[in-house]
């Protein structure tokens, strides 16, 4: 089980309480698709992903980004139980969605950058540490049921 210090929990909760899940989620997913264009392979049904402008304006990208980050909120609410929280989602990503777990790490890194751009100096090194740890734990949990 992952150990979270009281400070880490506080830093995570404090940032999360100020996150606009819809905006951040949309931006994180859009940036993933723009910065690492090969990730578009999972979203052939999303319509126009032909340019950064198209991606940023794509309503399916926005909606899916919100869905993904909302799910991320489950990890924030269940820091001591992330493995169990994501067990079913892990199976889904393996068996139905066939997503290489490396993509979870890529999205995690992008999320950190989005948070940094929104929180600026409030996103202290200690904050970055806690959040980088969290995205790593989430990525690991999502990969855990792969077979």
């Amino acid at each position: 089980m992952v150990h979270w210090s009281a400070e880490e929990k506080q830093l995570i909760a404090s940032v999360w309480s100020k996150v606009n899940v819809e905006e951040c989620g949309a931006e994180a997913l859009a940036r993933l698709l723009i910065v690492y264009p090969w990730t578009q392979r999972f979203f052939a049904s999303f319509g126009n992903l032909s340019s950064p402008t198209a991606i940023l304006g794509n309503p399916k990208v926005r909606a899916h980004g919100k869905k993904v980050l909302t799910s991320f909120g489950e990890a924030v609410k269940n820091l001591d139980n992330i493995k169990v929280t994501y067990a079913k989602l892990s199976e889904l990503h393996c068996e139905k969605l066939h997503v290489d777990p490396e993509n979870f790490r890529l999205l995690g890194d992008i999320l950190i950058i989005v948070l940094a751009s929104h929180f600026a100096r409030d996103f202290t090194p200690a904050c970055q540490f806690a959040w980088q740890k969290l995205v790593g734990v989430v990525a690991h949990a999502l990969a855990r049921k792969y077979h």
């Binding site: 859009a30 890194d109 950058i113």
Partner: protein, 142 residues
């Protein structure tokens, strides 16, 4: 992975904004890297790694200067960083995985200080550029 004309222009644009902050951003990048990825400290047992350390400032300036140099010679990064590439291969031997970690922290610093400059397109170009720099610095490893 090749830097397009747009990538080069995006990277040069960003670096023209930050060249006067080289020491500050370099130091902050390193500090974040040491804090976020403690394993990176293993390469600096001889450093004082406390916040504000003179050694981190000096080394941050070196790292940022090298990135600026690469951006200024973006058509020939391998040529511009050839000596640094030798140094990393023969002496420093920093495991290749760490360049990505440094790159991530550099992007975070950019996001914090220049969020409006770090559009998704510029973010993509910078990420590619940092990958290219990492590749050059590890190109002579074996």
């Amino acid at each position: 992975m090749v830097l397009s004309a747009n990538d080069k222009s995006n990277v040069k644009g960003v670096f023209s904004k930050i060249s006067s902050h080289a020491e500050e951003y370099g130091a902050e990048t390193l500090e974040r890297m040491f804090t976020t990825y403690p394993q990176t400290k293993t390469y600096f047992p001889h450093f004082d790694l406390h916040h504000g350390s003179a050694q981190i400032k000096a080394h941050g300036k070196k790292v940022a200067t090298a990135l600026i140099e690469a951006a200024n010679h973006i058509d020939d990064i391998a040529g511009a960083l050839s000596k640094l590439s030798d140094l990393h291969a023969q002496k420093l031997r920093v495991d290749p995985v760490n360049f990505k970690l440094l790159g991530q922290c550099f992007l975070v610093v950019m996001a914090i200080h220049h969020p409006s400059a770090l559009t998704p397109e510029v973010h993509a170009s910078l990420d590619k550029f940092l990958c290219a720099v990492g590749n050059v610095l590890t190109s002579k490893y074996r």
